[in-house]
């Protein structure tokens, strides 16, 4: 198990503050194209605003499906997916909005799906937990914890058999490490040295249950060792760190170096499912939440890029406005779209 950076792994703690103080050059950004850095920002911003919009609209009760928001966790999906090509594939979980968007999934298709419309990315049949966009390599998501993990091993196997140098990513949460099939999958990928990235977004909770009551240790990456593949821990609120770790693992996988388990240490701001905050439930402390909110990744990157002179405030505002327009357009599209015909019920079965 390796820690990607001194500051990695102790996410939420003092040492994890990103970037240098004023003035000093930001070593963390060295060697990364400005366009990429801006893309990282815009993608995270798109995820954030799309989900904040879902939260805002949810009370209208027109989004009639459970929604698991990733607000606060945008850096994991973004850092990993921007290290991928469209031909690389990803599978996800119940909390799949960020992965769908970061992989390049169409916002209109996503909102229409949440609204249960025929124009949704799954024709209205899947809902929030099964977002799919094969055209950009997003192969869908399972609402069964860890259910999609072995699928990535299979797509990686298929890619190799097809002679393609694609990489397959499985996104999953910390609780998925408690499912046997995840361990079987890690071991299988290691055995066959398949090009798989196992990305565990450790947000410290499963529903309202803290990690410590579910697992004897704290680091998910440690669990790679016994399956003979490398495990890396990265600060999941530092999208640049995530990108670098993912990029290295992707290149290694493409070269035939085999799979990597990447643990992305991060934190969920809202309730497990639904639009609200849930501090009232008492399963976590305000102090903990505040500490993580202080390290919120989207604004964090904005400030950092501004400081580094990569993304001046003015340009950022323009980009933000663009994102607002995209989201508004997607919502309008969804609301204006027709519901599926009853006949659709019987299509796409066998």
């Amino acid at each position: 198990m390796r820690r990607a950076a001194v500051k990695g792994g102790r996410a939420g703690s003092r040492t994890a503050r990103r970037g240098p103080g004023r003035g000093k050059a930001d070593a963390g950004l060295r060697g990364l194209a400005p366009a990429l850095l801006v893309d990282l920002y815009v993608t995270m911003r798109r995820i954030r605003r799309a989900e904040e919009t879902i939260a805002a609209l949810y009370p209208e009760q027109e989004i009639r499906c459970p929604t698991h928001l990733s607000i606060g966790q945008e850096a994991g999906a973004t850092g990993v997916c921007l290290a991928l090509r469209p031909t690389d594939t990803a599978v996800s979980t119940h909390r799949c909005h960020a992965h769908y968007i970061a992989k390049g999934g169409d916002l209109r298709g996503m909102f229409a799906e949440l609204y249960g419309r025929a124009t949704g990315c799954c024709g209205g049949k899947g809902g929030s937990m099964h977002l799919t966009a094969p055209e950009v390599g997003m192969l869908g998501a399972s609402a069964i914890v860890a259910g999609s993990v072995p699928l990535a091993v299979g797509t990686a196997l298929a890619a190799r058999m097809a002679g393609a140098d694609e990489v397959a990513v499985a996104f999953f949460g910390d609780a998925a490490m408690e499912q046997g099939v995840t361990h079987e999958s890690l071991a299988l990928a290691a055995l066959r040295r398949l090009p798989v990235l196992f990305v565990c977004e450790n947000n410290l909770y499963a529903t309202n249950t803290p990690l410590r009551t579910r697992q004897a240790g704290r680091d998910m990456a440690a669990r790679a060792a016994s399956h003979w593949l490398p495990g890396v821990i990265v600060d999941g609120n530092d999208v640049v760190a995530v990108y670098r770790v993912a990029k290295a693992a992707v290149e290694r996988a493409r070269r035939g170096g085999g799979p990597t388990l990447i643990e992305v240490k991060t934190y969920r701001f809202r309730e497990h499912v639904g639009p609200n905050y849930d501090i009232d439930l008492g399963y976590r402390t305000q102090v903990e939440l505040d500490r993580w909110m202080a390290r919120e990744p989207v604004g964090g990157l904005a400030r950092r890029l501004e400081r580094a002179g990569v993304l001046p405030a003015a340009r950022r505002v323009a980009l933000d406005t663009q994102v607002e327009a995209e989201v508004a357009d997607a919502v309008a599209f969804a609301k204006a779209s027709p519901f599926p015909e009853p006949a659709a019920l019987f299509a796409d079965v066998e």
Binding site: R64, C65, P66, E113, G116, R117, G120, C122, G124, K125, G126, G127, S128, M129, H130, S142, A143, I144, V145, A146, G147, A175, A176, E178, Q179, G180, A206, T207, N208, T209, T213, R214, Q215, L281, Y283, F339, P340, P342, A344, L345, F346, V349
Partner: protein, 325 residues
């Protein structure tokens, strides 16, 4: 009599069983969570503490095996799942171990294990969170399968499950938790394999399972308005199944409609229909009708949920077909 909600009846049964028998304990994902499992386990947690009611990792298969092991060692675990879809992860432990261990060792060991799981429905939970898998479990010898539809049965059947010495699968429909009904305060034990006549009638027999009992009662109400007296029977347990009660009723009414919350083909409605057809030879006035889910996974969109789920309307239609012979 005192009214309780279905969820409260389950909570009470759990606490009374735990008070009577210290070998009973509760485990499962979220069982100590105030919001978890529709509040059916929180009461036990508060009364008996974390040593006898504890949250678990998401390791459903191993947890089930743990339950089997603890049962063999003299305890009675109550394993709780937020959705019966998750039981598919535990089929090996349920069907290969829990259901067979006693038989394989010639009766030397028993496996008193109760597994509760919820049947989801609605709000776009879609294909993996809204299945109704009772037929899968009811097919396996060595298991008992109960599906209480009323608060009283929820308490009585769960009490029986928690005092029985074999594995019992208890499937609870999500839409039942807030329904109220009379529930005796003392402990009582509703026997397995004994159905109940929920509403008497002379013209047609409607056998309904779990939430379909409520739909059947609505249907019966509507039919009564047209002068048709439907008898509604709730088998309450699928394995063992009270075919005698069903057949007595259908022999009298001459007409049988079966309403299940699961898929039609190879489902619960098939076994009930098959037994009735065997035993009611020459006694039926019309073909048996089945009301069950169409042969597709659960769709996400509310626009598709509506045509997906049959209810009182479809039961009424089936009864009328049956009356037309």
């Amino acid at each position: 009599m005192r009214q309780l909600k279905y969820r409260e009846a389950i909570d009470e049964a759990t606490r009374q069983a735990m008070a009577k028998d210290e070998r009973v304990f509760v485990m499962g994902v979220g069982v100590d969570d105030p919001k978890g499992i529709f509040g059916t386990t929180r009461g036990a947690f508060e009364e008996f503490g974390s040593s006898r009611v504890f949250d678990t990792p998401l390791s459903e298969a191993a947890l089930t095996g743990m339950g089997v092991g603890a049962a063999m060692r003299g305890f009675h675990p109550l394993l709780v799942h937020a959705r019966n879809d998750f039981l598919l992860l535990t089929m090996d432990q349920i069907a290969n171990n829990a259901a067979k261990w006693r038989y394989m060792c010639g009766g030397k060991l028993k496996v008193p294990l109760t597994i509760r799981a919820i049947i989801g429905r609605g709000w776009g939970q879609a294909a993996q969170h809204s299945q109704s898998l009772q037929a899968v479990f009811a097919h396996v010898p060595g298991l008992s399968v109960i599906m209480p539809a009323t608060p009283a049965d929820a308490k009585g059947l769960l009490m029986t499950a928690l005092s029985s010495d074999g594995p019992v699968i208890c499937l609870e429909h999500r839409w039942l938790y807030d329904k109220s009904g009379p529930v005796p305060e003392d402990t009582y034990y509703t026997p397995l394999g004994v159905g109940s006549v929920v509403r008497p009638g002379r013209d047609v027999t409607i056998v309904a399972v779990s939430h379909m009992v409520l739909e059947a009662l609505q249907a019966a109400e509507a039919l009564a308005g047209e002068g048709i007296e439907a008898e509604v029977i709730d088998p309450r347990t699928l394995r063992p199944l009270d075919s005698a009660l069903i057949c007595r009723s259908a022999a009298r009414t001459g007409r049988l409609v079966i309403a299940d919350t699961g898929w039609r083909s190879y489902g619960v409605s098939a076994e009930i229909a098959a037994r009735a057809a065997e035993e009611l030879w020459g006694l039926l006035k019309a073909p048996i009708r089945r009301v069950a889910l169409p042969e597709v996974p659960t769709p996400g969109s509310s626009a598709l949920e509506t045509p997906y789920y049959p209810g009182a309307r479809e039961i009424v239609a089936a009864v009328k077909q049956s009356l037309e012979g």
